[in-house]
Point group: C2
Chain length 121, copies 2
């Protein structure tokens, strides 16, 4: 099972960013790629997760699982995001027990979306 962590790379997170400086979203993306990436996790940069008022943002998703979006993140959160992604990898439906979630995942959820079921379900 491959789990995807989408990372908004264009997020300014409310900062005034000078020309040539890395955007907060891009810095978060780089920090995640430089971290300890659990087996089975795919980190994919994406332009805009439409969470612009709550950036920087990431989304965890996988076939048949609940998807989660988290916001108000910085590159300092990269290790915890990767720990949370590892716990998500271990949860067949994507629902990680509350106490096994990093604090940022408990407190900075923007939304979750149920898995898509077949129309006859």
């Amino acid at each position: 099972m491959t789990v995807t962590l989408h990372v908004c790379t264009t997020c300014k997170a409310g900062e005034v960013v000078e020309d040539g400086e890395a955007l907060p979203g891009a810095r978060l993306h780089a920090a995640l790629l430089a971290g300890e990436i659990p087996n089975g996790l795919r980190i994919v940069g994406v332009e805009c997760l439409s969470a612009c008022n709550s950036g920087a943002a990431v989304a965890l998703s996988a076939p048949g699982r609940w998807s989660y979006v988290y916001g108000r993140l910085t590159e300092a959160d990269a290790p915890d995001i990767l720990l949370g992604a590892a716990a998500y990898l271990d949860a067949p439906d994507g629902i990680v027990p509350w106490r096994a979630r990093p604090v940022i995942f408990r407190k900075q959820s923007l939304a979750r979306i149920p898995p898509l079921e077949l129309p006859h379900d």
Copy 2:
């Protein structure tokens, strides 16, 4: 193609709800079911979209399409939500042209999630 509109039925949307009164999320769900539901749209009530600070919330999703979550909705928004869902039905990738989106979808997006691609993509 079936598109799913998940509706958080447990959302209190910051209201103080007396025992026995319908929750704001449940009222939104009922208003949507009573509206003009476009062909191909499946409306599914769900307990908690984890957007509790931005409720009531709905999510639009379909296989191979971007998913969208919208918040700060009331039952008065049901007709516009259904119009927005119809436009989403007509967009093969789920990305509706900006001007074709209802104002609530332009201004009340909580997040969007890219479609899941296969690992070899």
